[in-house]
């Protein structure tokens, strides 16, 4: 029969809908509503994976996100996701799952040899060995260790799916929808608060979906859940988010949720994101994350078929699956007894209840007796048999001496265990709250609230259905009150059954086996045993953080949720110190592993970062231009004609500009309008240069320093009126210059009557440069006499271009006659196309940033950020001329007087000419005095810019060189891997040294 472990009836699965899925290629059936884990169990499959280090066969242990063993790879539509918990994977038609960390197969895994040799692999073994011979580490040991480690196979192909993002605000966020969460959400919502209720599972209800032995307001718990969810769903102020994990609790009540939107669907609509990140600012948070059951640490506690008791109950009541036909229940607390009773109700044979406590509650014993279930009190499990599935359990009787006497063997095909309950304090801990030790329950519980949150129910160690419901209601009211100032008392539901249980145990259980031979696992996935923890202590590790890092306990994909408390207890015992003195590791986000794509969201491709384009962009694309990324901007790099490479294109562009005319898009340069009666005074303080005497209609080059004295930006500044300046900055520097100006203006000189406005995008800017520049623009400019006399170099004036208002600058970054036309951005395309057409008539060219760089280098103009690097002063750059000598202060003036900035041996800006005019230096190449310097020789400087100069028909370079200004004509060397290049130091101006070409 298919699904031999399926119950006859019951469970929340839809038996009318059957799905076929595969596990390691084998076809199986399950139902709608199953998880992969429940479907596998229904098919009698417990062995689902191999452990990390010893490759031991492992089975499903839990029914939740804390599952350490049942990690599988899921394949669909060419996408592959490793390490998904089978307990969380919802079944759909055609689901394809594979097991992990085994070779060649799950059943036969050669890695299992590690288990046989495990005596050589105690905790931290790799720190003690693999050191000889030295060369073996990289070549032999490490590759082997790496291949053996890891779990699933990494995805190979780019992800097809998309991921969404949503910011949300609410009054009360409730994380978790068990009894405490549901009642809290209800109370808060009825109080009028805006509520978001999320739960990591596909269905709301949490433990109520497992609870068969209780009633709420006379209803079965699951019916009460349905009714409550219906009520909440009908309210406008409530957002219900199933399949949504609150995975991160950040400062100031900022919570991140991961919603799985399509993962459970067989064929999702591709328009839907696979997952969605919710970033929620909540006024108040209710943490209702419940508690999870603790495994018992006994020898061979890791066999497939050994599960937590509550998981066994969940599989039965929620999924209609029996974990076995003959089940042993091992427990130290009351709650697990109910698992035995529920299974018994479904006809599963309970081989025995092995109760650690000498005197379990009489009421439970009585029920067991009535059902005819064998009870062994004062007993523990001391071992198990069965390699790929448990076959029997060894019993040990606890003696008053503390010793354990053998108590025989019980056959079984599954074992349910319960060491008690551990509150899930992850979110509380992430909120930076400090947990406190509760000796009564033997658990860490939330202490004082640090943020605006409260833990309820199991999450704070409170159990029992009625108590939990009441706690939830009260917390919901309280949260609403805190968030919106009012709350409404709601009618509490009355529950019967689901009482809180007593009991529990921590740490390794006593046994009568050879302690040095047996393995009792603390952390299943990472194969950490009780022995390992003790060894770490023996080796001097005293802090729990050291123990964790040394043994790797708690570092598996469940982040220690299952293992921490047992490890802590074992460490405490070994250290002979109380648990509270051992410390506790911090729970870090995410609560459960969270998809990278979720964090990355929509930021991919062109939406990875805004693509900023200028108005010429389309024209450039149409005309074959090549772009470079400059910050977020796309700037035209060069315009190759057919057959041209970059070098040829740039050479042609350079030549054309110098001989006739070129058109360049300068729109990306930063533009700041400085306006107000104190505008000149402000610039006087910001820039090194003097501004007060600059006449309206004139421009000046401005140099900007930081207060340390180093060059940070530059640009031409035009005075449009007494109280109005048009400032330009570098492209990359635009935001920081603006911010710096605001900073000084607002915080140092708030008395100045001046304001700054960014106009970078207000204008499109075309630079027309070259001897024919005037002829090119003349037909379109109205309102200005463009003659050299009327509108000389460094002029600015408002006019019109093709009837559109423009600001015309006569400036040059090429050394040629040049104009820059600023038109309102919308007309930028028109301007560009008009000018592009016009320059053709003059045999001109469009040119890009590379040619711009060459032309300015021929003239020795610096590029801030290329020829300067944040360590260059105006003196270094040979720009003392830019400093207003009479100014008492400007930003950077005092910095420039510091000892090292006025010392000898500073690197200074010079030109370099290679002895061989064909040899082009590499930018960044180092400069030395020795032709073949010894390794470690300090460099005299480095090449900052280097190009082939078509105008000079040779290569040129700019550099910073120690005392460079005094080295004119001297020979230095640029040592390269294959040779040393000799260079002559020159001034930085290579072309038209007297500057005649600008003034025509």
């Amino acid at each position: 029969m298919s699904q031999p472990f399926r119950t006859e009836k019951g469970g929340r699965i839809d038996r009318s809908e059957q799905f076929t899925f595969t596990f390691d290629g084998e076809e199986m059936q399950g139902h709608k509503g199953d998880t992969l884990a429940s479907a596998l169990l229904a098919n009698g499959i417990h062995l689902v994976g191999r452990s990390f280090k010893y490759h031991r066969p492992r089975g499903i242990v839990t029914a939740g996100s804390e599952e350490p063993n049942a990690l599988v790879g899921i394949y669909r539509n060419g996408d592959q996701t490793p390490n998904l918990r089978a307990t969380q994977v919802e079944l759909y038609q055609g689901l394809e799952a594979i097991s992990q960390n085994r070779f060649p197969s799950l059943g036969f895994d050669v890695g299992a040899v590690n288990d046989r040799l495990s005596m050589f692999f105690p905790a931290g073994f790799y720190y003690k060995t693999f050191m000889w011979p030295k060369s073996f580490w990289d070549k032999v040991y490490e590759p082997v260790i790496r291949a053996a480690a890891g779990l699933g196979k990494p995805p190979k192909n780019p992800d097809h799916d998309s991921y969404g993002n949503l910011y949300a605000h609410c009054d009360v966020l409730v994380a978790g929808s068990g009894p405490a969460g549901l009642s809290a959400a209800l109370a808060a919502a009825e109080s009028g608060a805006k509520v978001i209720l999320c739960d990591e599972q596909s269905e709301f209800g949490g433990s109520l979906l497992t609870e068969a032995n209780a009633s709420i307001d006379g209803m079965a718990p699951s019916d009460w859940v349905a009714e409550t969810i219906a009520r909440l769903g009908a309210m406008d102020n409530v957002t219900l988010l199933p399949r949504t994990t609150a995975f991160g609790y950040f400062a100031h009540n900022y919570i991140a949720l991961a919603e799985r939107v399509t993962e459970h669907l067989a064929s999702p609509d591709p328009k839907l994101p696979r997952e969605r990140l919710w970033q929620v600012r909540a006024k108040e948070v209710v943490i209702a994350s419940g508690a999870i059951e603790r495994p018992m640490v006994f020898p061979e506690n890791d066999r497939p078929g050994i599960l937590l008791a509550e998981a066994g109950r969940t599989y039965l009541n929620r999924y209609g699956v029996k974990v076995g036909h003959k089940v042993v229940v091992a427990t130290a607390c009351d709650t697990a007894w109910q698992a035995a009773f529920d299974l018994d109700d479904h006809g599963v044979e309970i081989a025995a209840i092995i109760e650690m406590r000498e005197v379990p509650p009489e009421s439970l014993v009585a029920i067991a007796k009535a059902r005819g279930i064998r009870v062994e009190a004062g007993c523990v499990i001391t071992g198990t048999l069965g390699r790929k599935r448990i076959k029997s359990a060894l019993l040990g009787r606890l003696m008053t001496s503390g010793q354990v006497a053998s108590g025989g063997q019980v056959e079984c095909d599954a074992l349910l265990m319960s060491g008690g309950w551990t509150p899930t304090v992850s979110l509380y801990s992430q909120s930076r709250g400090k947990v406190v030790w509760d000796a009564d329950s033997g658990a860490y519980v939330p202490g004082k609230s640090v943020q605006k949150e409260r833990s309820v129910g199991g999450a704070k160690g409170l159990y029992g259905l009625q108590a939990t419901l009441e706690d939830g209601y009260a917390a919901g009211e309280e949260a609403a009150k805190a968030a919106i100032g009012t709350s409404k008392k709601v009618t509490y539901a009355a529950a019967s059954g689901g009482e809180a249980g007593e009991g529990g145990t921590l740490g390794a259980l006593p046994h009568d086996r050879n302690a040095s031979k047996v393995k009792a696992f603390v952390d299943y996935q990472n194969d950490v045993t009780a022995k390992d923890v003790k060894l770490a202590v023996r080796e001097g590790m005293q802090s729990i953080e050291h123990i964790k890092r040394y043994t790797t306990t708690g570092m598996a994909t469940d982040q220690g949720r299952l293992s921490n408390m047992n490890a802590l207890q074992i460490a405490s015992g070994a250290l002979e110190r109380p648990v509270t003195d051992v410390g506790l590791t911090t729970f870090r986000l995410p609560y459960t592993p969270t998809t990278f794509g979720l964090f990355a969201g929509v930021a991919r491709g062109d939406f990875f970062d805004p693509v900023r384009k200028t108005p010429s962009h389309d024209w450039v694309v149409d005309n074959g231009g090549v772009f470079e990324d400059v910050g977020q901007w796309k700037r035209t790099w060069y315009f190759p004609k057919s057959g041209e490479d970059m070098h040829a294109a740039v050479a042609r562009e350079c030549k054309t500009v110098r001989e006739s005319v070129g058109l360049f898009d300068a729109s990306t340069l930063g533009k700041i309008e400085v306006v107000g009666p104190d505008a000149a005074e402000f610039l006087e303080r910001m820039y090194t240069n003097p501004w007060k005497k600059l006449a309206p209609g004139r421009c000046r080059y401005g140099l900007l320093l930081n207060d340390a004295g180093f060059i940070t930006d530059d640009g031409v500044i035009g005075r449009l009126a007494d109280d109005r300046f048009h400032v330009t900055t570098t492209t990359g520097g635009a935001p920081s210059v603006f911010a710096t100006m605001e900073d000084y203006l607002q915080t140092e000189w708030p008395d100045l009557d001046v304001w700054i406005t960014s106009t970078t995008e207000q204008y499109a800017v075309a630079a027309v440069q070259g001897p024919k520049a005037r002829e090119v623009i003349a037909p379109f400019i109205e309102g200005i006499d463009l003659s050299n006399e009327a509108f000389p170099h460094m002029s600015v004036k408002e006019a019109t271009f093709c009837g559109v208002p423009c600001r015309l600058f006569r400036i040059s970054f090429t050394g040629e006659l040049g104009f820059e036309i600023n038109v309102p951005r919308r007309h930028g395309k028109m301007m560009w196309e008009t000018l592009a057409k016009e320059i053709e008539k003059h045999d001109g060219t469009s040119y890009g940033t590379e040619t711009m760089h060459v032309l300015r280098a021929e003239k020795g103009y610096i590029i801030v950020g290329q020829d300067t690097d944040g360590t260059v002063t105006p003196q270094d750059a040979g720009m003392t001329w830019a400093i207003g000598k009479k100014k008492h202060d400007f930003v950077g003036k005092r910095g420039l007087e510091r000892p090292d900035l006025v010392s000898e041996n500073r690197k200074q800006f010079v030109g370099l000419l290679t002895k061989d005019p064909k040899v082009k230096l590499e930018e960044g190449a180092q400069i030395t005095t020795a032709e073949n310097p010894a390794t470690g020789t300090p460099a005299e400087g480095h090449v900052t810019s280097s190009y082939f100069s078509p105008a000079l028909d040779r290569t040129i370079a700019l550099a910073v060189v120690k005392n460079g200004h005094a080295l004119d004509g001297k020979t230095l060397y640029v040592p390269m891997p294959d040779r040393s290049i000799s260079v002559e130091v020159t001034g930085p101006v290579f072309y038209d040294k007297e500057g005649a070409r600008i003034n025509v």
């Binding site: 949503l166 910011y167 605000h169 693509v611 995008e761 309102p824």
Partner: protein, 191 residues
């Protein structure tokens, strides 16, 4: 009131087809408009308001509207003044003249940004895919204007109706902003 304004001053660009047209949300490109940045200390506000035609709001994040005019509070000494684009030059002159020697800064920023109109019952949802501001009507009532961040781009949001928002961004960011909004809206049409 503000919905009226959207029809009055911020109008869909007639020549451009909608960027997004779904039953629950649409995105329309707004027609060009005159935008002036006005900066001044308090003393100059009254004159400026008179010259502009509506008073400059002093309540943070608020807007004042009048016939073919809107004044948006951008900061304690900064306003964006909106008017039909044909009024740009006269408006500029009028304000400059009215203020005379009173210290202030008036700068034409008409072309610095572009606007889109996002409207529909899913407008808030759509904006919240990239903006972390609480757009509930209590927190962000009609008439509220605020600069903020949309994913990785600075934007300005102006709520002109319960379900209508004007979203402005610097021109070179608009492809990014509108592109992402359109993309994010796709899932609303999923089965």
């Amino acid at each position: 009131m503000s919905d009226v304004l959207a029809n009055d001053l911020i109008t869909p660009d007639a020549g451009v087809s909608p960027l997004l047209s779904q039953s629950d949300v649409s995105i329309l490109k707004a027609a060009p408009i005159a935008r002036l940045s006005f900066r001044a200390r308090e003393a100059a506000l009254a004159n400026a308001g008179t010259a502009f035609g509506v008073p400059l709001p002093t309540q943070p994040l608020s807007s004042e509207i009048g016939a073919k005019r809107a004044a948006l509070w951008m900061g304690p000494d900064e306003w964006t003044l909106l008017a039909p684009e044909e009024d740009l030059e006269t408006l500029f002159e009028t304000i400059e003249t009215a203020l005379g020697d009173q210290p202030h800064a008036l700068v034409d920023i008409s072309e610095r940004s572009e606007a889109i109109i996002v409207s529909g019952e899913k407008a808030v949802w759509l904006l919240n895919t990239g903006i972390f501001v609480d757009f509930s009507i209590e927190e962000f009532p009609v008439g509220t204007v605020s600069r903020t961040i949309f994913h990785k781009s600075p934007v300005m949001i102006w709520r002109t109706g319960a379900d209508t928002f004007v979203v402005e961004a610097w021109v070179s960011f608009m492809d990014y902003v509108s592109g992402l909004l359109v993309q994010s809206a796709q899932e609303l049409t999923a089965a």
